[in-house]
Assembly symmetry: C2
DNA sequence: TAGAATTCCTAGTAGATTTGTATGATTTAA
DNA sequence: TTAAATCATACAAATCTACTAGGAATTCTA
């Protein structure tokens, strides 16, 4: 399964963007400094996020990024899907040397990984960017 | 997070072992052939499984491995814990350059990764080796 | 008792992947 | 016109995975 810093960074950056966005776009430089993620790396992530219509890029001076749709409509699964290739634990795929790949006897654990995939994807499917913000607001208030 | 073939192989091998064990121990050579996992790699996994008291090794000719306790008492989380170093998605640890590492402002997504960890671990915590076998039996019967 | 089959143990390593860096072109506001 | 930003591509260091190699120790069996 792919669940590395790439996906984490993407979520962190999107949360940062949502948190700090009002009228004007937020530059990656800002996010880079606040979240301690390299600028070039962020740029690569945001190109992917843009291609999936999650953010809008505004070039030029005073440019930056804005959310393409409200935080309440962006699921974490959207973000992961945009930057990660896939969230699959299984490698019993066709034409693979490994796994059960269509042998007469299915590998014993085949269904298990299927269920795990659903379990994890379900988690991301049920959390929206907005939820992270709310959580953060409350945390701030309780200090 | 660590969720690679190492953990998968361990679960597959344990399921195979449980499935084929009656009186005599099961050799890794058998498992290696049936599950298509390299023998040396299996050996390394089983040393770890042994150290966590999940299997018992019987050296010498006609030797092999047996379950140390019934399949109904072995949770998948036990298996993962034995062979993987950790199942943690978070890298906001102390002394790390990355993540929120104790800055005054907690990183926005800190709690999220915590919850994800619990979510995934909960999955493994609630599946026992026995469950995999039952599933397999039923699959065979429905053919 | 010799030999075969097995676990046990340690070290190394090729290849893939991740996590960036480097460089420059393009666009736009001031 | 200049500075600040996105956009785009190529490359590279570091890490990690998934093994391989080689042998020692143990135990059953012929």
């Amino acid at each position: 399964m792919k669940l590395t810093t790439k996906g984490r960074y993407a979520v962190m950056a999107m949360a940062d963007l949502a948190y700090h966005s009002n009228e004007k776009p937020v530059s990656l430089t800002e996010i880079s400094l606040r979240q301690n993620i390299s600028l070039s790396y962020l740029e690569q992530l945001f190109i992917k996020l843009k291609s999936k219509k999650l953010v809008k890029g505004l070039r030029g001076s005073r440019g930056g990024y804005t959310l393409e749709k409200p935080a309440s409509e962006i699921k974490l699964s959207n973000i992961f899907y945009a930057v990660e290739e896939e969230v699959r634990t299984l490698n019993c795929k066709k034409d693979s040397k490994r796994g059960c790949n269509n042998k007469s006897v299915k590998c014993i654990t085949h269904n298990l990984w299927d269920r795990l995939d659903n379990h994890i994807n379900g988690f991301f499917e049920n959390v929206k960017l907005e939820d992270l913000l709310k959580e953060n607001y409350e945390q701030q208030r309780n200090k």
